[in-house]
Symmetry: C4
Subunit: 254 residues, 4 copies
């Protein structure tokens, strides 16, 4: 088997698309946004990518049929814009696979004449994040300035450890192919799937792309999560001696 | 050394065979069934598959001679049907090896014009299973309906984590080669080799294939296991205070 | 870098040699015997084998110069017999490397027209072994019978887990190349380098090959080890309450 | 993606250069020296080396732009000497990658006609080192003698475990290409980044190369570290009962 196998499902008419990556990662932020976009745009799967660097297993659908681990590219249109959206069950499970797959994604983006790439992810802080915001990284200084206008935060020391996996490597390979690329990371605790952080990323992405999608589904999931966190806080309060809980600014819970 | 080396031992006349995989796995359920079939059909080894992705060791036979780690394909006939049966000491020990070997199996099946593939395995529940049943997965929706007629169970959420290793990947590669393939999994605790679960799988498989093999040997092993489990339950009861054991519905032991 | 690089240091006149492998392993038994043979025969290094599957480091000699990790083949003569002796600092550190290197050794043996291969190793029992003996495995049934005449022990259930690494795989690849090959394993605790076990292996090997080498150096190391073990037993006795030590058959120390 | 990708940034006029390796390692000693040289010589990056054996991530610069993991070669001149200086964020994270990358470095050195290679690293002792010194290893006995004149220490049993990674393997590959190569290791605790040890290595390197660079920046960092260690010792003293601290020769803190 080859290191990677790209299967074209259909010849879509893709015009000057924006390429969006939302593979699984911290808080599954990128995946939530990408899957939400696919749903709302009724995007169509046009490419399946197979690789022995993905986990050695198949998934079982609800109807009892299996599907192999793939990374898939969907094509959708909204407000006159063409989007290519990359999603999947898993990223590479080997070191070299991360490089091989990320290069493959970028080559596909280039082949379709992608005007720009956005990789979506989460940035884990280790603490519960009340009001998620979006931090960024880019493969060209001009992009940093442009992104700031849309409220993307750039801090000198974040993300400290760099950007691991496809969201980072795609930016690197894109620079080699001279495609502008930006990574948008929703700040999140990193402890759970985070639709609130995904919503923050989606809002920024909509502003950048000048598109408008229905975000109800994501909002509902975010509201559910907010409710869950409120209950958690309530429980926390109830189980702690009175005088301590008076201090409303408990850093570890905010 | 190549990633995989396929050694043909003899030119067997194989007609429109059914391909059955029974490599080691959970409860060794698939292996028990496949080896039982090989014994009962007096099947003949026709292919040996070597790979550096198998464990880096040799096994020592009782007579002091060694044999390398291989995956082997046997050919047998029963009730006018040709079977190709894949067994072996081990599955791949590397991630990419799982893909390479599974693709190899399917290519061999295709080369022999296999009409269908059955992969056999166990599905571990983590609790002792009194009456094992068989759950399934398939690479085509029609197969799911067909299998239900033979008593194969399909549940929306099982197997939850997908199917790991050859039993799963073979279904995926078979779909690429347009070969119908079904995975039959005997429900088992996952804690020990399980001939009872293997018996359940063999019964279903016989019904599906319309064949009838002597299952005495497997029944005996299952009976031995049943006896062992009874003793275990007896011990358990004896060592627990009276009033607690009154509750016969102890979930953890049933 | 290639998977393996074979560097020929000189054109030795090697006639119908016996190939002996003594790479590091359990109790370093094989290595001790092979290095002892190299010393006593004044054998000459004729081949160096480099591979990225060996540890990623260099060793520093006492004079401050470095040498890369290699597996080396020496050529020596004794009593009219030519020996090729394979030694090295390390075996492969990757799974596939074990296969690649073992196949390389056998191809070199074949190229030199090796009449037979002996792989030397240790068989760890987990308990202190007072009188080490040698167990065997072979890649042909006739060899098993032949070896028994020299006092090599073959037990149905030993070695239980097979033979891991070069000592085992060489036997497998040799069978493919139709070279007779035997593995001789000195029984050892497995907890420390074991010259006593090495001496047992060397004695058997001398009988088999019909050669006679000075074993003084190995005997001395074995005697030192024996002394060390006696002290250990003495200490053990002193630190244990009287009535318990009366039982001289303490299994765990014998 | 290839195992390694060498990107030439510009055609530098490099004459009979000395090749210096300072990749990350124990105490980051080599990296500190190499980066200091690059700063002081205003050396220019001429080559970037990419590899899927480097960590699967990108780094984010302070300005929000990313850069892929690379190993980089800089070209600088000082006192009529040309230096090629190899630095980077990381060494290989795979076993075979260490070999592949080290061979690449040496081939580049050969291509530029490098007269000699110095690999720089740290040698961890596990205890705080008050007055760091430099131990060495070389790929030719004559080099050992030459290095001793410059105060490089060669001890029979150091470094005990050999030299792991690029600093070691480069010496091995250089010998194959008949390039003289020396490894200079600053003795260090191994517990923290050690500018004092780096300073010791730089002093020896200057003597060897007959060059003179401003070491102020490194001295300042070393002084800061010295101050930090003094405070540590002070704290240690304060927190230990009087009579014990009277013994000024506390081995574990010196």
């Amino acid at each position: 088997m080859d290191e990677v196998r790209v299967v074209r499902l259909k010849d879509a008419k893709v015009e000057a698309p924006i390429f969006i990556e939302g593979l699984p990662g911290i808080g599954n932020v990128g995946k939530l946004v990408a899957e939400h976009l696919i749903d709302e745009l009724n995007a169509e799967k046009i490419i399946e990518i197979y690789s022995p660097h993905l986990p050695p297993q198949v998934m079982v659908r609800e109807d009892g049929t299996i599907r192999m681990m793939t990374n898939d590219i969907y094509h959708g249109e909204i407000d006159g814009r063409h989007l290519l959206i990359l999603v999947g069950e898993s990223q590479s499970v080997t070191n070299t696979g991360h490089y091989i797959l990320s290069e493959t994604y970028v080559k596909i983006a280039k082949e379709f004449g992608a005007r720009r790439i956005y990789t979506l992810g989460g940035y884990g802080t280790g603490t519960i994040v009340e009001r998620p915001y979006v931090i960024g990284a880019a493969n060209k200084p001009e992009l940093v300035e442009e992104m700031k206008k849309y409220g993307v935060i750039f801090k000198e020391d974040e993300p400290g450890g760099g950007i691991v996996g496809a969201s980072g490597l795609i930016l690197g390979f894109a620079r080699m192919e001279e495609i502008e690329a930006v990574c948008l990371m929703g700040v999140t605790s990193g402890y759970m799937v985070d639709p609130k952080s995904a919503q923050a990323v989606l809002e920024v992405l909509q502003k950048i792309l000048g598109i408008s999608v229905d975000t109800t589904a994501l909002q509902e999931r975010a509201a559910e999560m907010e409710k869950f966190l409120s209950q958690l806080r309530e429980l926390e309060r109830a189980s702690v001696p009175r005088d301590i809980t008076k201090d409303e600014d408990l850093g570890y819970i905010r």
